[in-house]
């Protein structure tokens, strides 16, 4: 016997739950960009006889300019304009309020780019394995490395690649995360050091980048370590280019980094079936 309440989608209660969900989903997201809440689509609150509340929330999120490794607070990140091919996430989230604190217990997301607003001359997202665009990324990184002293960077992750058809061929606009590298001969390996400097680069141009702009992130805060203590080895740095291996990516070709699609450890039964079907859309 549950009472089901329907708070207004713009009520403080709904906003509180949506912001908790937004932060949680961003915390689960290890590749690509941070997402910002765009709209609360629906909310139901189940109240059990013991007074415990379960929130079932549908929210719409939009991709921002901030990479997940970028320490910039989400509030200071700007949402990507539609013209630059917006990517949105639709998520069903289940939360419980325990001791006054809202906690996410399950979620299901689908991520897709908005294609309804594509226009002639607009930029188009490219698959993250597009060979020509990846060549452009490498060429632009070489330009950046030629302008740095004592440090060489390598690619940690390609965040986004898009092209715009103009006279003269496709004009690329790419974004990628770089990390300090240890280079021997022609091979560069990412430094396996949490203190290695990281940053995000944006490059634009035709076959050769005519502009490369890199914003380095602030160094991560590290706990003070006693020189005599034993420290666990730092986690291995991910491969130079993140390779998506899930079957969905192989079948469709991945155009963008997606939000984690499903997390429902207790099979809550509160997540809609509709999302499960539409999760196939990329």
């Amino acid at each position: 016997q549950h009472n089901v309440l329907r708070p207004l989608c713009d009520s403080p209660k709904a906003e509180e739950a949506a912001l908790v969900a937004q932060d949680y989903l961003n915390g689960q997201h290890t590749h690509g960009y941070k997402y910002a809440l765009n709209r609360i689509e629906d909310i139901k609150v189940q109240v059990e006889p013991n007074g415990q509340e379960t929130y079932v929330l549908e929210i719409d999120l939009l991709e921002t300019n901030c990479h997940v490794l970028d320490p910039t607070p989400l509030a200071n990140c700007s949402v990507r304009p539609k013209l630059l091919t917006a990517v949105e996430g639709d998520c069903d989230v289940v939360l419980k309020r325990v001791g006054g604190v809202l906690t996410v217990t399950a979620f299901k997301c689908k991520t897709e780019e908005s294609t309804e607003d594509l226009c002639v001359g607009c930029s188009t997202l490219l698959p993250l394995n597009d060979t020509a665009a990846l060549d452009f990324v490498q060429a632009s990184l070489a330009i950046f490395n030629n302008n740095t002293v004592n440090v060489t960077y390598t690619i940690l992750e390609v965040g986004r690649m898009s092209s715009q058809l103009v006279s003269g061929g496709p004009q690329y606009l790419v974004e990628y995360v770089v990390v300090e590298a240890n280079c021997t001969n022609d091979a560069c390996m990412p430094l396996n050091d949490p203190m290695a400097q990281r940053g995000i680069c944006t490059a634009k141009g035709f076959k050769i980048a005519h502009s490369v702009d890199c914003k380095m992130f602030a160094a991560p805060m590290m706990p003070a370590v006693d020189a005599n203590s034993t420290v666990a080895a730092a986690p291995a740095v991910p491969p130079a280019v993140h390779v998506h291996t899930d079957s969905l990516s192989r079948r469709h070709g991945l155009k963008h980094h997606k939000l984690t699609s499903l997390h429902d450890p207790q099979q809550s039964g509160l997540l809609s079936a509709e999302s499960a079907e539409s999760a196939e859309i990329v």
Binding site: N3, P7, L37
Partner: protein
Amino acid sequence: IMFKRDIAAAAAPAVADSPAALTDPILLVPVCPGRVRFFS
């Protein structure tokens, strides 16, 4: 010639935040989705 005339604002539904919302048809007025923060 068409004239624009003022229309009285529709009364907002009471917050459907109580069990009464399940039975009171007035409170069943859709209260979602919420506002769009960036674009739809």
